[in-house]
């Protein structure tokens, strides 16, 4: 796997040259990975309402360090909202979100920004800057947060692009990329600052099988080689069971169940089993609540 070698090389390379800013970022990540037992994200009795619509009603989630955790649920359960709550972009109505020992809603803005440098969020659309080339997109966080010389910056960006297999696409604009390539560029940008945690928002949605395979492999590989923690929000059960270590199932603002993919497939909850195997009918009924079918038909006669 040449990509892995390159990634490792990138880490050594940075340390070897003693580039202050980036080293500080990495040391932060290294320091953290020592106390391995403590979950990296601890969510306690989280309540969040969008206007009058309650999205989360007392949710407890622990994201273990160094693992890939999947958060699943039907469409519209606020999975993206959860990621934004972890990133501190949204404020919960009640409860706490603690990331790496810091409550994201209580810390100062500066501390929150320092925390965000150590986590990345991969948006569903990629959210690449449309006016910058692929190269500049990946270079963006480095340019914003470090003062590396141009030559080192170039090497770093090319290494990140090599890791996602798009070193040759560096001069393209986001408009010239396919959806899958855009996501890979976004992934390269997300690992630019060597974060401790990456959150993926629906990484497989709308991609062809080859791209899905590539992204799955990248997620697994980056997680293991960089010692990351990954959170994947999705409803693609099949893909998730293949790569994740731990699963959370959310529906109706509550956690319906959690455990390893194997636990989940044999869960006692009928709802979880229905979701895992994608049955059309079960605890989640096929029919929207309605009066009795026969009565309804006769009523018109």
């Amino acid at each position: 796997m040449p990509a892995i070698i390159n990634l490792l090389f990138s880490i050594h390379f940075v340390h070897g040259h003693g580039c202050g800013d980036l080293q500080a970022v990495r040391q932060g990540a290294l320091k953290v990975s020592k106390n391995n037992d403590e979950p990296i994200v601890k969510i306690r009795s989280l309540r969040f309402a969008h206007g009058t619509r309650v999205i989360f009603d007392g949710v407890d989630i622990d994201i273990p360090r160094g693992k890939i955790t999947a958060i699943m649920g039907p469409s519209g359960t606020g999975k993206t909202t959860l990621l934004k709550l972890i990133g501190g972009q949204l404020q919960p109505n009640a409860g706490s979100v603690v990331v790496d020992g810091e409550d994201v809603n209580k810390v100062s803005r500066d501390a929150l920004f320092r925390l965000r440098k150590r986590m990345s969020l991969l948006f569903q659309t990629g959210a690449l800057f449309t006016d910058l080339t692929v190269f500049e997109n990946v270079a963006f966080p480095l340019r914003e947060h470090t003062r590396l010389p141009e030559s080192i910056l170039r090497d770093l960006v090319l290494m990140k692009l090599q890791a996602v297999g798009l070193r040759g696409a560096r001069d393209l604009l986001p408009a010239e990329l396919s959806g899958g390539m855009a996501r890979r560029v976004a992934l390269a940008r997300a690992i630019a600052l060597d974060p401790m945690m990456i959150m993926y928002d629906e990484p497989f949605t709308g991609q062809d099988p080859i791209t899905v395979g590539v992204i799955m492999q990248l997620i697994r590989m980056l997680n293991d080689t960089l010692g990351l923690t990954s959170i994947i929000v999705s409803h693609d059960v099949h893909e998730l069971t293949m790569i994740c270590d731990h699963m959370y199932m959310i529906s109706g603002g509550k956690v319906m169940g959690h455990g390893t993919p194997d636990d989940m497939a044999h869960s006692e909850s009928g709802w979880v089993r229905q979701f895992m195997s994608g049955l059309p009918d079960g605890p989640v009924p096929f029919h929207y609540p309605a009066p009795d079918y026969a009565d309804d038909l006769l009523a018109g006669a």
Binding site: G87, F113, R116, S120, L121, F123, F129, T130
Partner: protein, 260 residues
């Protein structure tokens, strides 16, 4: 009747809400401005899209307005035998009123709407959100440079408009209609005052620049993040800027030139 009153109430409430949000937003931009001292490159890039790309429109419009002023002014003045005052008429109209106001209206249409659409689309495609998650404040990185570029560009564009307009008036008046060239310039110079006219015109255009840039970036940042929301925000930018500029122009004119 009740429905009508309710609508009035909710409309005025939402107007005040937006006004409040807009003002708070302005404060946040102002707080973000000092950080730009370290990143002049960001402002330069925006000066290009806000200022340089508006230049052609401004220069052509200025030339046309100046030429029309020369022609119309001549037709009126010649009846009183005072066509020598043409230079004064063209210069005063441009420097005091038309330069700042028309340049601001054109600016809103060309650069303001583009700013709104750009920021609105960045919001709609989660680029702003993504930036925030990368621990980069979009207010500092995206909004503030555009705001400052608008404020710097506006007086320069208005000055270009006026200067080119005077030349346009000169071409028509002196070149085509035969007004004496010396009289054209000397009448102009004796009646146009550096402080009362030119400087006040520049102050006006700076004020208009602030307002136009503020409205443009606010509408973009506050846009509903979808296609329809961005298109509505773009329209609002042009309409609101036009109203604000015309209203402010009246107030500023009364303050500046009222006591003469």
């Amino acid at each position: 009747m009740m429905g009508w009153l309710q609508r009035l109430g909710s409309t005025s409430l939402s107007v005040f809400e937006r006004l409040g949000r807009g003002n708070l937003f302005l404060l946040r931009i102002l707080a973000a401005l000092p950080s730009l001292v370290l990143r002049p490159g960001l402002v330069i890039a925006q000066l290009y899209s806000v200022g340089v790309l508006s230049m052609t429109l401004i220069v052509i419009s200025g030339l046309n307005v100046g030429m029309v002023l020369g022609l119309q002014g001549y037709n009126t003045l010649v009846d009183f035998g005072s066509e020598e005052s043409l230079g004064q008429l063209v210069a005063l109209s441009l420097v005091r009123e038309l330069g700042p106001v028309v340049a601001a209206l054109l600016f809103a249409g060309r650069a303001g709407s583009a700013l709104t659409a750009e920021i609105g689309l960045m919001k709609a495609t989660e680029q702003l959100s993504g930036m925030e998650m990368m621990a980069v404040d979009p207010l500092k990185r995206v909004v503030a440079p555009r705001f400052i570029a608008g404020i710097i560009s506006m007086p320069l564009l208005a000055a270009m408009f006026s200067a080119v307009g005077v030349l346009g008036g000169f071409f028509v008046g002196v070149g085509l209609l035969g007004v004496d060239s010396g009289a054209f310039w000397s009448q102009m110079q004796s009646k146009v005052d550096l402080y009362d006219d030119i400087l006040n015109g520049v102050i006006k255009s700076i004020v208009f620049g602030c307002v136009a840039a503020w409205i443009a970036v606010f509408e973009g940042y506050d846009a509903v993040p979808n296609t329809e929301g961005v298109s509505r925000a773009t329209t609002r930018t042009v309409v609101h800027t036009a109203f604000a500029v015309l209203g402010l122009d009246f107030i500023l004119t009364a303050l500046m030139f009222g006591d003469e």
